[in-house]
Every structure is written in C-alpha cells, then in structure tokens.
Amino acid sequence: MALFESRGGSSAQLLDAELSGLDQLEMALPPRPSRLARVWAATWPKLTAVALALIIWQLVVWSGWKPEYALPGPRKVWDAFFENFDNNMSAAGTTLWRGVRGFLFALVIGTTIGALVARVRVLRAAFGSMITGLQTMPSVAWFPLAILLFRLDEGAIFFVVVLGAAPSIANGLISGIDHIPPILLRSGRVLGARGLTAFRLIILPAALPSFVAGLKQGWAFAWRSLLAGELIVTIAGKYSLGQQLDANRQLADSAGVIAVMIVILVIGIMIDSLLFGTAERTIRRRYGLVDTAT
C-alpha cells in the first residue's frame, strides 16, 4: 500500500511550521518558578512545623504537667535567650569557628585515611573495622590523651573534634567508594587513569553523592565532640556553647539550657539546609539522580 502523510498536515505545511516551531515552543513553556516562589515553598513547611512545635510546647506547659522551673515555657526561654543574648552569640561564634576549623581538618585526614583504606587491601583488613571502633569511642575518653598531647589549649579541643569527625568522614568515603558501579571504575581504567589521578578524576567524583552524606554525619560527630570538648577547659571570658550548656545545667537553669539547645538546633538546621542540603541537591541534579517521574 502507498505511504501517507501524518494526519497533522502535509509535509510542506510541516516544513513551514518548523521554522517558527522553536519560538512557539518557548512560549508554550511553563515559566520556571521564580526564586521567591521556590524559597517560599521550601520555607513555609518549616515555619509551620516550628509554629506547631511551639504551640504543643506551650500547651504542655499550660497543662501544668510539670512545674515551670522543670519545664519552662517558650516565653521564659525567650527571655532567658535575650537576657543572655551577648553571651549566647559570642559562644555560638566561638563554637562555630572551632567546629568549622576542626571539621575542615578532619575532612583532610578522614579523606586521606578513607581513600587509603578503601583502595589498599591490606590497610582495609588491618584498619577497616578500627575506624568504626574509633567512631564509637566517646569524646570524654579522649580528654586525658588530648590534654597529654596538647595541654590545656585550643589544641586539645581541636584534637577531640578531629578524632570525632575523621572516622565518620573516612567511613563515609569508604562506603561511597565501595558502592561505585564497577563499570565506572573499569571505564576509568580503560581511559588510563591510575593511582592518584584515578582517585581524583574518577573515584572521588563517583563516590561524591555518598561521600557528602558521610560528611553530614561527620559534621554531626564533630559538633557533638566539640560541645563535649568545650568542657575540657574554659578560658575565662571566652564563652562557648558547650560551656554555656554546662553552666546553665550547673545552675539548674532549665530555661537557659533550652535556650542554648535551641541555638544549637538552629545552627544545625542552618548548616544542613544551606550547606549540605544545597550540595546534595546540586549533586543529585547534576548526576541525574532526580526522578522526574510524576
């Protein structure tokens, strides 16, 4: 039987349409949602959650389940926070700076160790499990050693933070490397990537999505170790969140404790959503891991 044209129109018509096709398409596109709309879409559920939490908290307090000195209400915590505003801010600054510094150093150490352990069979057999072992060691256990090595110094805190975060980062990298699809490694090998080049150009980027997840856990470890470590030694006039938390506890000031907790939580949320969240979204989009299916 003879062939026939598409129902849409004759071939000639189609050719005409072709020229204007792309322009028309552009117009028909659903406009990219505005920046504001996207920020709002990401923000309102958070605000709602916070509002809900506050309401529930206030209701529990009003219910009189526990006396106010044991479970202070939002109002009291708010006051406590502002009463101590300067201290809290300078404490947050100090702690944040220590955390970032320790974390960055742990990143270097953890990545190096992770890479070596993941790729060198003997090292893996020797140290693979020890990394998790170190990870489970509570920070307090390191204090004596930290003081032994670094005296009563920022160095001691730094040491504890690095020991807290590095194993976690190393483990994250190892698991990331372990789960690289073998075809990518083979591809790299065929392209002639060896040793450090292979690590830098193939293995690390291939492990990146899991690695970032490991970094997040590493940050949490670093932060917790840090808050514990800040109790090793307090330098007069230099406030830190760990020290403030303890000072409030020592004073049995529940409102103060909760105020510091909220500061910690807010910092944690900010770092996650601004730093790790953004990194993860970018990586997922770039690597094509976003399921576009409706």
Partner: protein, 272 residues
C-alpha cells in the same frame, strides 16, 4: 488544529476533542503532544505536536533517528512523565514499558526479577513459579534462574527484561528497542514468540526499533518520527500477510522503501 494548552493526566475521562472523534476508542491516543525538557534558557524540545493513535490490539512500530524522541514518547504513554502541552490518553488497561537501558533490580536474581512482576499482580506463589519458568524458557534463559543481573551478558539482561515485561500481562506493551543487543538468530525466535503472544492475547504494542526490517516484520503500521523536535512525518501500513519472515522479499521491499523515506527525512532535518 485544536490544542489543549495544559498537560492532562492520562486517567482523565475521554474528552471528545474534535479531531480525535474517529479514534475515541483508541488504546493510546496522543493529541498535539509537545514535550520540552528543561526551562526557558536551555530548553530542549523533544516532541513537537505529536498526534498518534493506536487502536486496541494494534501493533505499531516507531522509527526515527537517534535522539528524535521515541523514548520520550513511550515515557509519556507509560505515565512516567507529563507532556508540556497536549494530552496523552490510555484506555483499556495498564501499559507496561520495557526500557531501553538496563532496568533490572540488582538485588534480585533472574527469577526474582521476573517473579516480582507477577507478585505485584498478586498472583499466588505456586502459580507464579510455573509462569516464571515458562517465561524464562521462552527467552532461552533456563538454567540462569539463580544468577544475579550483573552475572549476565548484555543480551541476556535484555531478555530477562523482556520476560519481566511479558510477565506483567499488561494490555498495552511499550517496547523500547527490546531486541537491540540480541543476535539475529535469537531475535528471530523472539519475534515469533512476541507475535504469537500478541495474536493470542490481543495485546496492543507500541514498539521502538532502529531495525527497519524488524519494524516491517512485526508491525501493522510503521510510524516515522522526524528529528529534533520529533514529529510524526509519515505512516506506513504494513499489509503483508502473517506469518512474515524477516528475510522475505516483501519485507525487504517495504523496508527499503521506508529506509529511503527515513534517509530523506533525516537528511532534510540535517540531523546527520
């Protein structure tokens, strides 16, 4: 040309648009479907006002240059993606899609992968076992039941995927280059099997391939897509009696004719 300006879900009631009047009972109907990937700045138009209808029980083959939007079209029909404009409607049953790329579940054995399709249809265990065995036999993978996907060759993986897709017993089967990595011999056998199944069960098939003879061997109709953005540029009804043989002259002749047209089309769009 009537043009629905918003994307519509495929389960919507069949609104009788003027030009789809004749094909309102079509198993698959695309009406002026446009699909653009990305946003304004770097948009990639993949399909441009594609209108296509596939009758229940029809076997339609889709041909087109690499990157012209065939997989995109199947994704839309399978409901995995939404058209930018236009409507996609599927009637008379769930569609299933056999993907172009490897899509086996790496945590399941060959048997497990096929079995899952049946399990999700809530078929009882004893019945499943039998059916899975039959399906694997059909794709010539008896003896490989317990292998993991990564232990298979490329062609074997493709056959497992075929078995899994057939195991779903969907009424509408969308196939994206299903026999691309099979040797001629195996492929011929599977052609026969697919045709038998199609005849016996009244399946509707939309079949993407690069092999023009394969299209003519299997299809009731061959549809040609142009490139970037994809448009339906020609349709060829295949009126060769079945059973057909891929080496037969009638198949070769029509294939040559279609190839010629395809070449024109590809050349005209400057895709190659």
């Amino acid at each position: 040309m009537t043009r629905a300006s918003t994307a519509a879900r495929r389960e919507e009631p069949a609104t009788e648009s003027p030009r789809s009047g004749a094909g309102s009972l079509a198993a698959i109907s695309l009406d002026a479907v446009t699909k653009v990937y990305g946003h304004a700045g770097n948009a990639v138009p993949a399909l441009d006002r594609v209108s296509l209808e596939v009758e229940p029980g029809e076997f339609v083959c889709l041909l087109g240059a690499s990157g012209c939007g065939k997989s995109t079209l199947l994704n839309l029909v399978a409901g995995l993606d939404r058209p930018t404009t236009g409507t996609v409607e599927v009637r008379g049953g769930r569609p299933t899609l056999m993907f172009q790329e490897a899509a086996l579940f790496p945590w399941l054995t060959v048997r497990g992968n096929v079995d899952l399709a049946l399990k999700l249809r809530k078929i009882s265990r004893p019945h499943r076992r039998e059916t899975v065995q039959a399906l694997l036999e059909m794709v010539h993978l008896t003896g490989f039941e317990k292998k993991m996907p990564h232990e298979l060759s490329g062609g074997m993986r493709q056959r497992v995927q075929l078995a899994r897709a057939l195991g779903q017993q969907a009424e509408i089967l969308l196939m994206d280059e299903p026999f691309g990595s099979l040797d001629a011999m195996t492929r011929d056998v599977l052609h026969d099997e697919l045709e038998r199944l199609w005849r016996e069960t009244g399946l509707t098939v939309l079949f993407v391939t690069h092999n023009v003879r394969e299209a003519v061997r299997l299809g009731d109709r061959v549809v040609l897509l142009s490139s970037r953005p994809g448009r339906v540029v020609a349709e060829f009804p295949v009126e060769i009696d079945r059973p057909r043989r891929i080496e037969s002259h009638s198949v070769a002749d029509l294939a040559a004719q279609i190839t010629g047209r395809l070449r024109d089309e590809v050349r005209r769009h400057g895709a190659v």
